[in-house]
Amino acid sequence: MPAITRNTVPAISVSGLSHAFRGHQALSNVSFCVLPQTLHGFVGPNGAGKTTTMRMICTLLQPNKGEVEIFGSNVRQNISAVRRRIGYMPDHFSMYRQMTVAEYLDFFGTAYGLTQVQRDRVIGDVLTLTDMDGRRNDLISGLSRGMQQRVSLARVLVHDPDLLLLDEPASGLDPRARIELMEILRELRRIGKTVFISSHILSELADLCDAVTVIDRGQVRYSGPMDLLLETTDQQPLWNLRLTTVLPGIIEKIKALPGVAEVTEPEFSNGRDFIIRSAEGLTGNDLLRALLPLDLPLASFGLQRRHLNDAFMDLTTRGVPA
């Protein structure tokens, strides 16, 4: 993830965003920042204000209060300039089902003012990227949900935007389609796109995203690097140890080591995974040094990270917003 410097213009800068629908405060002083060329997750319970924020970022909705800037351009003042730099994929299927895949992309390419030569090249590229090359002449109505989602993604990429706003792109997809979608998103980050993605599938976001913003009841609960959010909050860090084989009585041996406060076996570990709580002031190196004399068949050793689910549950409030 790129470091924030004075010269880095944020891809998205949201400050003091507030919005109310018929007396219901949907957003309240929402502020966060998305760095360029990163994958930024946007999570929150249903009704938290994710889609409202998304629609304000993509210029479809004017906020009552606050400012949104896309690569330094204000969305109120430079709507057309902003729209050319963003690709928005809404949370519902929005497709001309009677068109073929190529016609659909050709239509949007033309709407964005691309010449026929440019369209031919771009359509080929985006279909290759989304692995839909072989389906270009298929009617959209005959495609599976996962494939339609890929076509939506291809449509978003047709005018080569710098910023992609994806609202629940993985909803309703089977595991294979989800994994493939995540691969495409990684590829997009690699080629320099900024991706702002809202999703409920937290486990995949944790692996995928560089940063995350958690929103609940219209307020930002956390916005920053994913690693920072997933660090354990305990004073004594937890360490994850995995062995290649099962060794009987190993827990007692580890417990007896100096500097080890507690050893537990997580559920479904098959006797090869252990969580070690070290004594106060002990670093990972110290602990590893203490473990080496045991000559363990080590598979991996690392800091135990919180699961995004746990962080999410800690940050958000129980119950449905009124």
Partner: protein, 518 residues
């Protein structure tokens, strides 16, 4: 079955009750009564048959509205479940085909019968005004109710058979047009064909067809009731046959619902990758024109078909004229010219209203309005492109109307003058705007509401539209200038646009922007 049917029935009635539009339509019907009353009063002032004139207008309007509304309202009864993919869920919940057809259609039918019922007390004013008996009134309302029940069940059959609402509406609409046009066309054809040309059995069928169709015709029945009351019964055969036909449609819909629904889901899931048979050309520079022309109106194949159909219609008129007058002439004379013009003008009117009420709605149905809004096209450009796409599609009807008007001018002008034709054109443009606007607010009522509003607006718009050219002429003459009629009509068109079309255009634009943001 009863609990499922009741749940569906109550739910649909509740949804209907909560929506503001059915109430607006009912209010509009009540207003219509008042309007027709004043119309009858001015029209028949000084005569003793004001009540008859008043009630005749009410009946004609009701037949028109039932026929138009029936297509758009009842034909979606089952297909809206198919469109949403919930028909299978209803079946899984243990609802039998009878429960589904009964639950989905009865509530709509009751809701529509309520529209008729709201008018009944007002219509009794006709008895006071004179010229009609209360027995005639009740008999006419029964005939209208029977027609409504027949339309509802015939549309239900289309809804059960077709896979989408669009197809169901198209089939139901075509059937209704055919029903009303076929007797006149068949009569004219059989009268014009000299004996011996067609085989006797064919001639017998053609001769008896109009009479058979008119058994259920509400127009014929109302005419009988109001003008030949002594020789007709209270119910008449129209009522009985309509109810029997409606029951047959309902029975077929119910019996075949499962098989037809299975056929739809099978063809969706087992067909594999779907390919189009005819290729579509590359996207035009203005993409929404291309989109609407090719994917909403049917594109070049449909365009060519309509053009050839127009040619066939005109050629048929020429052929019939030749057979009856024994003289070949491309110019249609006497009644042939204006009849042909009437056919083309009717087709053009129906096409314009269907396209204008469906073009913007098709975007809402596919939830594509916000995606289009994100492109660099401005809202005005989006709306104009969509209108242009539909305009290309109506060119065959425009061409054949203009061709008939130009070539067979003398015959056409025996029925209407040029001023009336221009007023019709302006009213058509006005109605297309109204239909487009209503389609952004309501799902099924856009067309019937447009018919209602256009009917009332005609009296408001036609007066000034017909007067302005004369005023322009007089003002020009006082300044020693003698303008052509075309100049006067240009001025009229400008004022009509400024005071009626522009406000509608701005309203459509604002509503479209609002919907794009949702």
């Amino acid at each position: 079955m009863i609990s499922g049917t009741t749940a569906l029935f109550v739910w649909t009635l509740r949804a209907d009750n909560r929506s503001v539009w059915p109430h607006v339509v009912r209010g509009a019907f009540a207003f219509m009564m008042l309007f027709t009353l004043s119309l009858a009063w001015t029209d028949a002032f000084g005569t003793t048959r004001i009540g008859l004139r008043f009630f005749e207008t009410i009946c004609s309007l009701n037949i028109l509205i039932i026929s138009v509304a029936g297509i758009s309202y009842f034909s979606t009864a089952v297909t809206e479940e198919k469109d949403a993919g919930t028909l299978a869920l209803l079946q899984l919940a243990g609802m039998s085909p009878l429960a589904i057809t009964l639950g989905k259609s009865t509530s709509r039918l009751v809701s529509s019968l309520m529209l008729l019922a709201v008018q009944v007390p007002f219509s009794f004013l006709a008895v006071t005004l004179g010229g009609v008996l209360w027995q005639q009134l009740l008999a006419a309302w029964c005939a209208l109710a029977a027609w409504l029940i027949l339309v509802a069940n015939a549309a239900l059959l289309c809804s059960a058979r077709c896979s989408t609402s669009g197809r169901a509406a198209a089939v139901a609409g075509s059937s209704a047009i055919l029903f009303f046009l076929l007797p006149a066309v068949t009569r004219t054809t059989t009268a014009a064909i000299p004996p011996g040309i067609l085989p006797q059995p064919v001639m017998t069928v053609l001769t008896n067809l109009p009479g058979a169709l008119e058994i259920v015709s509400p127009l014929k029945r109302i005419d009988q009731i109001l003008n030949n009351w002594q020789n007709t019964g209270f119910f008449g055969s129209q009522f009985t046959v309509s109810i029997l036909m409606a029951a047959a449609c309902f029975a077929v819909s119910t019996c075949r619902l499962t098989a037809w629904a299975r056929h739809v889901s099978d063809s969706e899931s087992l067909s594999g990758p779907a390919k189009r048979r005819l290729p579509v050309e590359r996207c035009w520079k203005l993409p929404l024109i291309w989109r609407d022309f090719h994917f909403y109106t049917g594109g070049w194949p449909f365009f060519t078909m309509k053009f050839l159909a127009g040619f066939a219609v005109y050629a048929s008129f020429v052929a019939i004229q030749q057979v009856s007058t024994d003289r070949w002439n491309i110019v249609l004379e006497q009644d042939f010219g204006w009849t042909a013009m009437l056919v083309f003008a009717s087709v053009l009117t129906v096409e314009v209203l269907l396209y204008s009420s469906g073009s913007l709605f098709s975007e809402l149905r596919q939830s594509t309005q916000s995606t289009i809004a994100m492109t660099p096209c401005s809202t005005v450009s989006i709306l104009l492109q969509k209108a242009a796409g539909c305009l290309i599609a109506v060119l065959p009807a425009v061409f054949w109307s203009m061709f008939t008007l130009t070539v067979s001018r003398t015959s056409v002008l025996t029925l209407v003058d040029m001023d009336t034709i221009v007023v019709w054109g302006l009213m058509l443009i006005f109605s297309s705007h109204v239909a487009a606007l209503f389609s952004l607010y309501t799902r099924w009522a856009a067309l019937p509401l447009t018919v209602l509003v256009s009917f009332f607006a005609f009296f408001v718009i036609a007066g000034p539209v017909l007067t302005i050219p004369d005023v322009v002429d007089r003002i020009a003459i006082t300044h020693n200038y003698r303008p052509s009629r075309a100049f006067a009509w240009t001025i009229t068109a400008f004022w009509t646009w400024l005071f009626t079309l522009l406000p509608l255009q701005l309203w459509i634009r604002d509503q479209w922007i609002k919907l794009s943001r949702q």
